[in-house]
C-alpha cells in the first residue's frame, strides 16, 4: 500500500457472501494481492459466509472467490475492474 496511508487508522469491515450451496469461499482484493488462499471465509449458521478484515482508509477493490469462481458482491457500493480487467467490487473505508 502507498506509504501515504501509513498513519491512517485501520477499520474493521465485515464482508458477507450469500452463497449457501458453496463449499469454499474466500475474499480477494488489493489488500491480499488477489490471493484466494490468503483470506478464507467462514460459513455462518445461516449458511452465509463471513470474514472481518481490518482495512486502511481509502477505497479497496475486492471480490469473493466462490468455489473457484471470481464473484462480485451484489451489495457492494461500487464496481470497477482489477489489474487483470476483471469486474470487481469496491468498498470505501473512512
Amino acid at each position: 500500500m502507498p506509504s501515504l496511508n501509513y498513519h491512517k487508522p485501520l477499520r474493521a469491515i465485515n464482508f458477507v457472501c450469500l452463497a449457501p450451496q458453496a463449499k469454499v469461499v474466500s475474499l480477494v482484493g488489493d489488500f491480499n494481492t488477489w490471493d484466494a488462499a490468503a483470506h478464507p471465509m467462514k460459513q455462518m449458521p445461516d449458511r452465509s459466509w463471513l470474514i472481518t478484515m481490518e482495512l486502511k482508509h481509502g477505497h479497496h477493490r475486492y471480490a469473493f472467490v466462490v468455489d473457484g469462481v471470481l464473484t462480485l458482491d451484489p451489495r457492494a457500493q461500487g464496481v470497477t475492474r482489477n489489474d487483470k480487467g476483471e469486474r470487481v467490487s469496491l468498498v470505501p473505508v473512512s
Binding site: P2, L4, G58, H59, Q77, G78, V79, T80
Partner: protein
C-alpha cells in the same frame, strides 16, 4: 460583461504532489433558482470545506448561467447569496449557456485549463435536494468519486443514485437510453450496463487526460454522460461506478411526459450523430445507417408508448 468571466483567485493553487493530482470541484448552479436556499446552503457548506482543504482541492468553480443571474438581478436574497457564499467559496464562471451540458462544458473546460496531468475534475450538480437528510448523506459520499479516480488510477467514475423502478429517470434509461444504446452501439452498451443502470448520471469525476480527450471531441449540448461513457468504452478507459445514495430531483425538475420524450429524442439524436462520425468513412456506411435508423425509430416509438403509459 465578459461572456465567460472567470473571477480567478488562483493564489491558493500550490505545486501538485508528484504522487497524486489535485481535485477540481465544479458546481453547476441551478438554472432555475429554488424558492428557498436550504439545498444550496447545504451544498455550499460542502464547497466551503473543499475550498478550505487546499492541499487536496483546487479552488472550486461555480458555473452560473447569465440568464439565471439576470432573472434574479433585482433579488436581494440572490445577490447576497451569490456574494457572501458562492463567490466566497468558489470562483464564479458567468456564462451564457444553451443547456446544462454547456454549463458542464464551460466549467470543465475552464477547470481543465488550470489543471495538469494527474488532476481530477469533479462535477457537482446544484439542483438536487441536498438539504434533506438523504441529501446530506449523499453530500457526504460524493467526495468518493474523485478519490476513487486518484486512489485506484481510474479515468471515469460515475456516481449512481438509487431511484424507484417507476421513477421517470429510471424508466427513461431502461426503455429509452439503453434501448437506443443497444441499437446503435450494442457492444459498448453491454459494457456500460455492466457498470451502471444510470448512464445519464450527472454525478461523475473524470481524470485530466481523459477530459482533455473528451473536450477535444464534439461536445453535445445534452446527454454528455452517455457520450463520455461511450468514449470511455471505445478507448478502453478505466471506468468505475459508485453508489452515492438515494436522492430525488427538486420538485421543479419533475418529469413531464413531454420532457421525458424530449430526453429520449435527444439521446437518439446524439447516438445517431456519434455513430455517423465513427462510420462515415467506411464503404457502404449509409446502408447500415438506414437499417439502424429504422431499428432506432422502432425502439424510440416503443419507448414513447411505454413512457406514455407509465408516466400517466
Amino acid at each position: 460583461m465578459g461572456q465567460t468571466a472567470l473571477t480567478t483567485q488562483e493564489a491558493g493553487r500550490k505545486p501538485i504532489s508528484a504522487l497524486r493530482g489535485k481535485i477540481h470541484p465544479i458546481v453547476i448552479y441551478p438554472f432555475r433558482q429554488p424558492a428557498h436556499y436550504t439545498d444550496l446552503e447545504a451544498l455550499y457548506r460542502l464547497v466551503a470545506r473543499l475550498d478550505g482543504d487546499k492541499a487536496k482541492y483546487c479552488r472550486p468553480v461555480t458555473v452560473l448561467d447569465r440568464k439565471t443571474h439576470f432573472a434574479h438581478k433585482s433579488d436581494e436574497r440572490f445577490s447576497q447569496f451569490r456574494k457572501s457564499v458562492v463567490e466566497k467559496f468558489s470562483d464564479v464562471l458567468d456564462a451564457w449557456c444553451v443547456d446544462t451540458c454547456q454549463m458542464w462544458y464551460g466549467g470543465l473546460g475552464a477547470a481543465c485549463e488550470r489543471g495538469q496531468p494527474g488532476d481530477v475534475y469533479w462535477l457537482i450538480p446544484g439542483d438536487f435536494n441536498y438539504g434533506s437528510p438523504i441529501g446530506q448523506e449523499v453530500l457526504s459520499r460524493l467526495h468518493d468519486l474523485p478519490e476513487i479516480i486518484l486512489e485506484l488510477d481510474q479515468d471515469l467514475c460515475i456516481g449512481e443514485i438509487a431511484t424507484d423502478h417507476a421513477h421517470s429517470k429510471q424508466l427513461i434509461d431502461t426503455y429509452g437510453t439503453f434501448a437506443l444504446l443497444y441499437t446503435w452501439f450494442p457492444g459498448e452498451a453491454n459494457e456500460i450496463r455492466q457498470f451502471t443502470e444510470r448512464p445519464r448520471s450527472e454525478f461523475f469525476a473524470i481524470r485530466h487526460e481523459f477530459l482533455r480527450e473528451t473536450l477535444a471531441d464534439r461536445w453535445f449540448p445534452y446527454e454528455q454522460t452517455v457520450v463520455m461513457l461511450l468514449q470511455a468504452v471505445l478507448r478502453e478507459k478505466r471506468i468505475s461506478r459508485f453508489f452515492v445514495g438515494n436522492i430525488t430531483d427538486l420538485p421543479e425538475e419533475g418529469e413531464t411526459l413531454s420532457s421525458a420524450l424530449q430526453q429520449v429524442e435527444r439521446t437518439e439524436h446524439v447516438l445517431k450523430t456519434l455513430w455517423r462520425e465513427r462510420h462515415e468513412q467506411s464503404l457502404g456506411w449509409i446502408e447500415t445507417y438506414r437499417c439502424l435508423e429504422a431499428q432506432s425509430e422502432q425502439a424510440r416509438r416503443t419507448a414513447v408508448t411505454i413512457l406514455q403509459n407509465a408516466l400517466k
